[in-house]
């Protein structure tokens, strides 16, 4: 069983963290992963940095640019993760734009992920339709989950379609926006979370984009199976460093 599914079995509400590999420092990937696991985080999304991250807000853009400037590459990341499963047992998801993956070679990329022990991929600019038609087969071959996004604007029929062919979880974008921390969720958000919860989808949902603190995390997970924190974590990391990670996680739950 995929570690993602196992985790959902074990936990009522997941806390997942996103960071851009290679930022703040090129060699921070491992220390960050260890610190996150040790702090009780349930799952991690490792960002493969991209020059033109068009679904991301300023914080992740900046961390991405910085990581590239530090020398991060696909090859380098795989090197860093080579023996990751010696230490890390929580599910790991790679999050990256499609072009670098294409250039690496999609099959080669999937193969590598499997060999390392990556559990799944989130590719924001690979829509489910194209995935389904052209790439699913390869992903399946290497036992990689591919997770897809839904937003407040995603039509109901499409949500059901996504649900029907998803594995792992559905990445529920909290509001129509690029990534970026928000301080509060309002009634619109709650209504949307409720609406999706009421759809009783078969794939669990995790809320992402805009969770920044305990209150937004709580609100997000009231109706879903978990929350992903990205920008807020990256900002914290930049300010307080890897050693302070447990502090951040404790502030969330």
């Amino acid at each position: 069983m995929n570690r993602i599914d196992q985790t959902f079995k074990k936990n009522e509400k997941l806390l997942s963290i996103y960071f851009s590999a290679g930022h703040p420092k090129l060699e921070d990937t491992l220390p960050i992963l260890v610190a996150l696991q040790d702090s009780g985080v349930d799952m991690v999304e490792i960002g493969l940095p991209f020059s033109d991250p068009l679904a991301d807000g300023p914080t992740i853009q900046k961390s991405s640019t910085c990581a590239l400037r530090n020398g991060m590459t696909t090859e380098k990341l795989f090197d860093q993760l080579e023996n990751i499963r010696d230490n890390i047992h929580i599910p790991l998801v790679l999050m990256g734009y499609f072009n670098p993956i294409m250039q690496y070679g999609i099959e080669r990329f999937c193969q590598k992920c499997q060999s390392i022990g990556i559990d799944g991929l989130i590719i924001p600019d690979l829509p489910i339709d194209l995935y389904h038609e052209y790439y699913k087969e390869v992903f399946d071959k290497y036992n990689l989950y591919s997770m897809f996004l839904i937003t407040p604007q995603t039509p109901e029929a499409r949500i059901h379609f996504i649900d029907s062919i998803s594995n792992g979880f559905i990445y529920m974008v909290s509001s129509a926006s690029v990534t970026g921390a928000q301080n509060t969720f309002g009634k619109i958000h709650e209504d949307y979370f409720k609406r999706i919860a009421n759809m009783k989808l078969s794939t669990p949902q995790i809320v992402g984009f805009g969770i920044s603190n305990a209150s937004t995390y709580q609100m997000a997970t009231k109706y879903s199976s978990g929350g992903i924190i990205g920008s807020a974590f990256i900002k914290f990391l930049e300010k307080s460093g890897v050693a302070a990670i447990p502090e951040f996680i404790k502030s969330i739950r």
Binding site: T74, P100, Q103, D125, L126, L130, F148, T151, Q153, S177
Partner: protein, 394 residues
């Protein structure tokens, strides 16, 4: 071989819609409706009427006598520089604003490089009384100052894109982010035949008026509906797509696409996508793309802001790979020289983008009885500072 888009949004291997889910509703709404709307009688009538009454179409197909004499061949200029706002770009923005209205949108965003598309977008928004936000790379804001001023006069908000190379690519990223953030009431008017399907096809259709007119005008002037060569510069490729459109399947017509070599193809400062690019994904479309081995998009360079883009539209990638079109790249210096030559031989100051196309005359030999149509895609008013600096005309 088929050169038009297929049902799935591909030109051969290229195209598609590689977009974040957040854009799905908007792009899908457009995909489902663009043909039906743009083929409707009421749309066609309104589109055609604005092209005629407002843009000033048809633009002349001008026989360049002095140039023809010098190069001993028959040279025609399709005068898109005479369009309202000074370039072909407005053909597309007129089409898209009508599309946006029919889709019930009340806010427009756009990216711009040279500023021509930004001005053309701001213009149609003013015409329709619709809010308008233009993204422009902060470097381009500097080097195309007159167009920035025009956008502001027209009431548009100009937002600087400060990431990456601070040029067109980055402005496009910012526009896409805006669209993600404003998914309901906003239409994104893309300015070239790039972006996710159906944009490349939609924009090419709106621009195809260029070749439709060219056919009619050639019939009158040369007694046949097609030239021997069509030549256009390619940034994203919209003016080229417009000129090629009705000739794509006519194999008697030789298609020449001119890219910006910048400081030279091997200089590391170039925008010659076909020479330097590999298959990849940019702004939602699979196409040829300048990138590192690792798949990071390269910062392109050209002296002309409108060609300073690391990709080309998927139609052009297909024309290149299928060898239907001949791709030539022209360095800054030669383009600039042609800007001056065209000014002083024909009294037409071209946009620097446009000037690239003409440099083909020094690269390729044409025969005396051949008919060549150049797309005179835009006028050079926006580039005066660059010309003046370059030629020390002050």
């Amino acid at each position: 071989m088929k050169y038009q888009v297929d049902e799935k949004g591909f030109y051969g291997d290229f195209g598609g819609a590689y977009i974040p889910e957040m854009l799905y509703p908007n792009v899908e709404e457009l995909r489902q409706n663009y043909i039906q709307i743009s083929e409707s009688d009421s749309f066609k009538k309104e589109f055609q009427s604005l092209l005629t009454e407002y843009v000033g179409r048809p633009t002349p197909l001008y026989f360049a006598e002095r140039l023809s004499e010098k190069y001993n061949t028959k040279i025609y200029l399709k005068r898109e520089d005479l369009c309202h706002t000074g370039a072909h770009k407005v053909n597309n923005t007129i089409g898209q604003i009508l599309m946006a209205k029919r889709l019930g949108k009340n806010r427009i965003i756009a990216e711009t490089g040279a500023g021509q598309h930004g001005v053309a977008t701001a213009t149609v928004c003013a015409l329709m009384g619709i809010e308008c936000v233009i993204y422009m790379g902060s470097l381009d804001i500097q080097r195309q100052a007159p167009n920035v001023a025009r956008m502001k006069m027209l009431g548009a908000e100009v937002k600087a894109a400060k990431s990456g190379s601070k040029t067109l690519k980055d402005a496009t990223n910012e526009a896409i982010r805006d669209w993600i953030n404003n998914p309901v009431d906003t239409h994104y008017i893309i300015g070239s035949v790039v972006g996710p399907h159906p944009y490349p096809d939609m924009v090419a259709r709106f621009q195809s008026v260029i070749s439709a007119e060219t056919q009619a005008q050639l019939l009158e002037k040369e007694n046949r509906e097609y030239p021997d060569h069509v030549i256009a510069c390619v940034g994203g490729g919209s003016n080229a797509a417009g000129l090629y459109y009705h000739f794509l399947d006519n194999l008697r017509v030789n298609i020449i696409a001119v890219e910006a070599a910048g400081k030279g193809i091997d200089s590391g400062a170039s925008a010659a996508t076909s020479a330097l690019g590999k298959e990849g994904i940019i702004h939602g479309s699979k196409t040829l793309l300048m990138q590192t081995l690792d798949g990071q998009i390269t910062e392109p360079y050209s002296i002309s802001a409108g060609l300073d883009y690391p990709g080309v539209g998927p139609m052009h990638a297909h024309l290149f790979r299928s060898k239907r079109a001949e791709f030539i790249s022209i360095p800054d210096q030669e383009a600039m020289d042609w800007g001056l030559t065209l000014s002083q031989m024909e009294g037409i100051i071209p946009a620097i983008e446009t000037a690239h196309a003409f440099a083909v005359l020094d690269v390729k030999k044409f025969y005396p009885d051949e008919v060549i149509v150049f797309n005179c895609s835009g006028r050079g008013d926006k580039d005066l500072d660059t010309y003046i600096d370059h030629f020390k005309l002050k």
